[in-house]
């Protein structure tokens, strides 16, 4: 319907011309294009991710929302602003490769303590996870303020209770956690699959976990071990007395 030059800046129409996809029906395509414009406007207008359910309620009936969003997402892929999925919702976010440009203006965010980050990672990778399990993984009690702080940031929430005796409360991450770290879903956490495969996301030692070969003489050092001398300890700072403040 639209030819040549100007079409290049109206890509929905453009695709219409070139589309070799199954549903080439022009009326249908136009219908979808219009729905995509609406979805674009709705998501663009909101700073928070907009759920597909909310979109479906506002778009014309009979629109395949996931498909429309996937197409929009593809369209924005290479732009300065990307359409990203956060759980079952969609949001526009500036492109990750432009971080250098954007972070100049970023308000300095409060840093999470190392302990808080560690607890956050444990909750993210092990969810749903109880406090006792976090403690088992870290080998130390989670200090009182840590979970409180993580819940306050809105990244962590109480999910429910484990159906075991004592019914301990379980923790998990929120949608705003996914949004903050640019994840579409928990499965996308970096290294998730490998960790699972290695049995390291188990709260208990998996039976297939390799047992160390008991050395013939446990006192004998293996070839890649050096005896521990006092000098080593000093080097490690283990002999240095702590300075009293």
């Amino acid at each position: 319907m639209i030819e040549g030059g100007p079409a290049a800046v109206v890509p929905f129409m453009k695709e219409d011309d070139e589309s070799t996809e199954n549903d080439g029906n022009p009326a249908e395509r136009l219908h979808l294009s219009e729905a995509m414009r609406m979805a674009e406007a709705l998501v663009f207008a909101s700073a928070e991710p907009v759920t597909e359910k909310a979109l479906a309620a506002r778009l014309p009936d009979g629109i395949d929302v996931p498909r429309a969003m996937a197409e929009l997402q593809r369209f924005y892929e290479k732009r300065g602003v990307n359409l990203v999925r956060v759980a079952d919702a969609w949001a526009f976010r500036t492109a990750g490769d432009l971080a250098f440009l954007m972070s100049r203006d970023a308000v300095q965010q409060k840093k999470l303590s190392r302990a808080a980050l560690e607890v956050l990672a444990i909750i993210a990778y092990h969810q749903p996870v109880t406090r006792a399990e976090m403690e088992d993984i870290r080998g130390v009690e989670t200090s009182k303020g840590t979970l409180d702080l993580l819940m306050e940031t809105g990244w962590v929430r109480m999910r429910g209770r484990r159906r075991v005796p004592g019914r301990p409360v379980t923790y998990g991450t929120t949608e705003s956690f996914l949004d903050h770290f640019g994840l579409a879903e928990v499965r996308d956490l970096p290294g998730m699959e490998e960790l699972k495969g290695a049995g390291l996301l188990s709260t208990r030692m998996p039976s297939n976990f390799s047992m160390p070969q008991p050395p013939a003489d446990p006192d004998e050092l293996t070839e890649d071990e050096d005896p521990l001398s006092d000098i080593d300890l000093e080097e490690l700072g283990l002999l240095t007395p702590r300075v009293e403040e």
Binding site: E48, A95, I137, G154, F181, P218, D224, L239
Partner: protein, 277 residues
């Protein structure tokens, strides 16, 4: 100070390559900098410069015990967690060094060592995961949302918003306000039954086999002045745990080591052994 909002600790963590500690001999290991005994162990383990799966657990246990000895020599106060770990490692060490006796029901040293290795690997994995997570492009730092949002899409029919966290905070803080707190915290020096109980549960909670833990417990957890109160409290606590069915105890003869284990699920038969006399 160049990195004023970075604690030494964050810096330490930021470049968590295994080389660090050895290439910086001046680094002072400060217990305050560690997130508990497992963290310290992981740090020591990395200094062995081998894959965690190939680490010498015995050497590690020894290093840890040396560390604790030193700390005590300099009268540094170590948190109970560190001492519980020391007691456990001393026990592990003895299991690794003494050949298994025929008829010995206890877990082998190698099995215990494997558990420790697993825990170290798992902790390290979570460490790395946290680092990868925090270095991702983050909203509000690297990527941004629309700066001039035009609408809030209201999805919930309810026009009031409140999160579970809001609800719980409101409840907890108002109940707290109402409960007048004039309770003063007892000074340490005496082991309370509660403390002893918590320590015992931590130490023995996972043990399914007879374990003589009392001696390790006393060696590492009590200063000479505290010995009497520590013995009394942990003994009383262990009896309480036996009564409640969490624990079983056994003693071969008067003044011999006390053996403990967490109670197996179907009870009854084993209790016979616990009598001693």
């Amino acid at each position: 100070m160049p990195d004023k909002d970075e604690t030494p600790f964050e810096r330490l963590w930021a470049d968590n390559d295994t080389e660090r500690a050895l290439s910086e001999p001046a680094l002072v290991v400060d217990v305050d900098g560690f997130e508990g005994p497992l963290d310290l162990l992981l740090h020591l383990a990395r200094n062995q410069k081998v894959d965690l799966a190939r680490i010498s657990v015995l050497a590690l246990a020894e290093q840890y015990l040396v560390f604790v000895e030193r700390a005590r020599h300099f009268r540094l106060e170590l948190a109970a967690d560190y001492l519980v770990m020391a007691a456990w490692l001393a026990y592990l060490k003895s299991k690794l060094l003494i050949p298994r006796q025929p008829g010995d029901e206890e877990a082998t040293g190698e099995e215990l060592a494997a558990v420790l290795q697993f825990r170290l690997q798992r902790l390290e994995a979570m460490r790395d995961a946290a680092a990868r997570l925090v270095n991702r492009n983050r909203l509000g730092r690297d990527v941004f949302a629309r700066g001039m949002p035009e609408a809030v899409i209201v999805e919930k029919r309810n026009e009031y918003s409140a999160s579970l966290y809001d609800l719980l905070t409101a409840y907890a803080s108002q109940r707290q306000r109402q409960a007048i707190t004039n309770v003063t915290i007892a000074k340490r020096g005496v082991w309370s039954l509660k403390e002893a109980r918590a320590i015992l549960m931590r130490l023995v909670g996972q043990m399914r086999d007879w374990t003589a833990l009392d001696s390790f417990l006393l060696d590492y957890l009590a200063t000479p002045e505290e010995r009497v109160t520590a013995i009394a409290s942990s003994f009383a606590a262990s009896l309480e745990l036996v009564r409640e069915g969490h624990l079983e105890m056994r003693q071969e003869q008067a003044f011999a080591s006390l053996y403990m284990r967490s109670k197996p699920k179907p009870s009854g038969i084993k209790l016979m052994e616990a009598t001693g006399d």
